[in-house]
């Protein structure tokens, strides 16, 4: 396995505080993909997600002198992205329309994914278990799921391709979600414990 000097937290932090570009490139290379995926799920707009993550890295660079990250740089990055995303969605139409205070609180506390929950989810074992669980899905269900997640087709495109109705596609997607939950129940319980 390739070891990188920046794998050592102290070495990395020192380089970051000095403003060494190499250190920031290391972070970008290692964490961009995960952060983009995370931001994309919160703001629900891919291009906006790119901009927000880019902004986070730029801010990190701008502020490098003041960096004092004790534990994990990764968790720091996820928290920053989360905050940037939250600022954005507070003005988005979907939230602007929620006149109900209670609903708004519900949305931000239960629906939006917190950075802690997100980090807990990134465990390798869980990813592997997910892959296995997907393979165990019933035929049609798996077909629809894979077309959507792997080939990134829209529900309409999937319906056309498989010669079924859009409603059926939606039902299959729901089924996939529920089946996966059943398969992964014990694995998910562990995460549940970890971040109660």
């Amino acid at each position: 396995m390739n070891m990188h000097p920046f794998d050592n937290h102290e070495v990395l932090l020192e380089a970051l505080q000095k403003g060494e570009e190499k250190a920031f490139v290391y972070l970008f290379d290692r964490y961009y993909e995960g952060l983009l995926n995370y931001a994309g799920r919160i703001v629900r707009e891919t291009e906006l997600a790119h901009d927000l993550v880019q902004e986070t890295f730029c801010k990190l660079y701008e502020d490098h002198v003041n960096l004092n990250i004790h534990l994990s740089v990764k968790s720091y990055l996820y928290k920053s992205v989360y905050n940037s995303c939250l600022n954005e969605i507070k003005y988005q139409k979907v939230v602007n329309n929620y006149a109900d205070r209670e609903l708004l609180d519900f949305y931000f506390s239960e629906i939006v994914q917190t950075p802690e929950a997100e980090l807990a989810l990134q465990n390798e074992d869980i990813r592997k278990a997910l892959e296995e669980a997907i393979n165990k899905l019933p035929e049609r269900c798996r077909e629809v799921f894979v077309l959507s997640k792997v080939e990134e087709l829209s529900n309409k495109e999937i319906a056309e391709k498989l010669n079924i109705s859009v409603k059926t596609v939606e039902v299959q997607m729901t089924k996939a979600l529920s089946r996966l939950r059943e398969e992964l129940e014990w694995v998910l319980c562990i995460i549940f414990f970890v971040n109660f």
């Binding site: 880019q54 997640k149 729901t174 939950r181």
Partner: protein, 394 residues
């Protein structure tokens, strides 16, 4: 747990649920602790299986963008250390280079004998914006990172990604205090540009647009002058209202995001996305306050202002590189495209002008691709020869 509940949960997580559906879920989750647990399980799976993917190409691009930012940032810090003597030297070199270049081109073209292939595609020459400094000198803005300075101005930053940035700019020592120094930015047909003013206000300028603004804001109001179309994201400053001056009217801003369009015949459209804005007709002195999703139409002839509700996205999507058409007639569409692409339009029959089209299309560098997409959905046929487009019913 029923299938219905699973479907509702999926809908909410996908962001496709209505307000009422959200409430149903909220109530259900409050009913019983086990309901909440169940929801969290599904939420975990949803989070593991959703979200945008990243291609290696896109990652490389974003990396380039970030590296560019870092390098430019450190360059800016180094620039401040440059002495005045060195700056003057650049100006003399520029003066010498131009005649030398012209000579070079003259000789080169004399010797060329191969036939030149003519490019028949109508491409958008993402035409170069022109910056006019206070002394009238014009600078063509290339897509690269550099610092621009003038007789009165210092520290204007040109960034290949974010456009022109005045946040670190200032005035030369020779400029007397109290004097407002203006620059003008002109965007040609097919152009598009982003600009940051000295107070941090971000402006997106559409094609065929001119904006006149101070290098640094002094004075009680922050005044800019616009002809064309621009989208403003105004930096908050309660003590100094931001005013967009357009022929015959003023848009006064209280910290917000809005779009102003003077390109439609005889009318100025102002669409408010968020915050608070007032539109004032100078002839009548009438001032109208706008709320988000309001659009004010100022009629130049009569000096009247009309306010209605719109979906701001339709009017501001252009800033993100898209055209949005909502039940727009082919005639409206072609006139709009005419601002971006160098095309002449002829109609094969009268009915085709009134065909409508609804959709969102990304700007293409090639008008042919764009017309193909519209043609596919509407019952319209586009025939293109050089820069002449003929439109007829399919």
């Amino acid at each position: 747990m029923t299938n219905e509940m699973d479907e509702l949960i999926r809908k909410v997580l996908d962001g496709k649920a209505s307000e009422e559906e959200m409430r149903v879920l909220m109530r259900w989750m409050k009913e019983d602790g086990s309901h909440r647990e169940y929801f969290n399980m599904l939420k975990k799976v949803w989070n593991m299986t959703n979200g945008p993917k990243l291609s290696p190409e896109r990652k490389a691009l974003e990396m380039e963008r970030f590296v560019g930012y870092m390098q430019n940032s450190s360059l800016k810090k180094r620039e401040h250390l440059k002495s005045k003597v060195v700056r003057l030297w650049y100006r003399y070199v520029a003066v010498l280079l131009i005649p030398l270049l012209l000579l070079g081109i003259y000789f080169w073209s004399e010797q060329k004998s191969e036939p030149i292939l003519v490019n028949t595609e109508t491409n958008v020459d993402f035409g170069k914006p022109v910056l006019m400094m206070a002394d009238g000198r014009e600078v063509i803005l290339e897509q690269k990172n550099e610092i621009i300075e003038g007789a009165s101005e210092i520290g204007i930053q040109n960034d290949s990604l974010f456009g022109l940035n005045y946040m670190g700019a200032g005035l030369q020592a020779n400029v007397s205090t109290g004097e407002e120094v203006y620059n003008t930015l002109s965007i040609p047909v097919g152009g598009f540009y982003q600009l940051s003013l000295s107070d941090g206000t971000k402006v997106w300028l559409n094609s065929m647009t001119k904006l006149r603004y101070p290098v640094t804001f002094r004075g009680e109001q922050r005044n800019v002058y616009l002809a064309g179309e621009a989208y403003f994201d105004v930096a908050k400053d309660a003590d100094h209202p931001f005013v967009v001056n357009v022929e015959g009217m003023e848009v006064k801003v209280y910290g917000t995001r809005f779009n102003v369009n003077t390109l439609e015949e005889g009318v100025v459209q102002t669409v408010l996305e968020r915050g608070k804005v007032s539109v004032k007709a100078l002839k009548t002195g009438e001032e109208v306050m706008l709320k988000p999703d309001d659009m004010a139409e100022f009629y130049k002839e009569s000096g009247m202002v009309k306010v209605g509700k719109v979906d701001p996205f339709t009017y501001t999507a252009w800033k993100d590189g898209k055209f949005v058409f909502e039940n727009a007639t082919i005639e409206t569409i072609m006139s709009r495209l005419g601002r971006w692409y160098d095309i002449k339009v002829f109609y094969g029959d009268e009915q085709v002008k009134n065909q409508t089209f609804t959709g969102i299309i990304t700007r293409h560098s090639n008008v042919k691709d764009l017309l193909y997409l519209i043609g596919e959905t509407a019952m319209v046929q586009f025939d293109q020869k050089d820069n002449v487009v003929t439109v007829r019913t399919r």
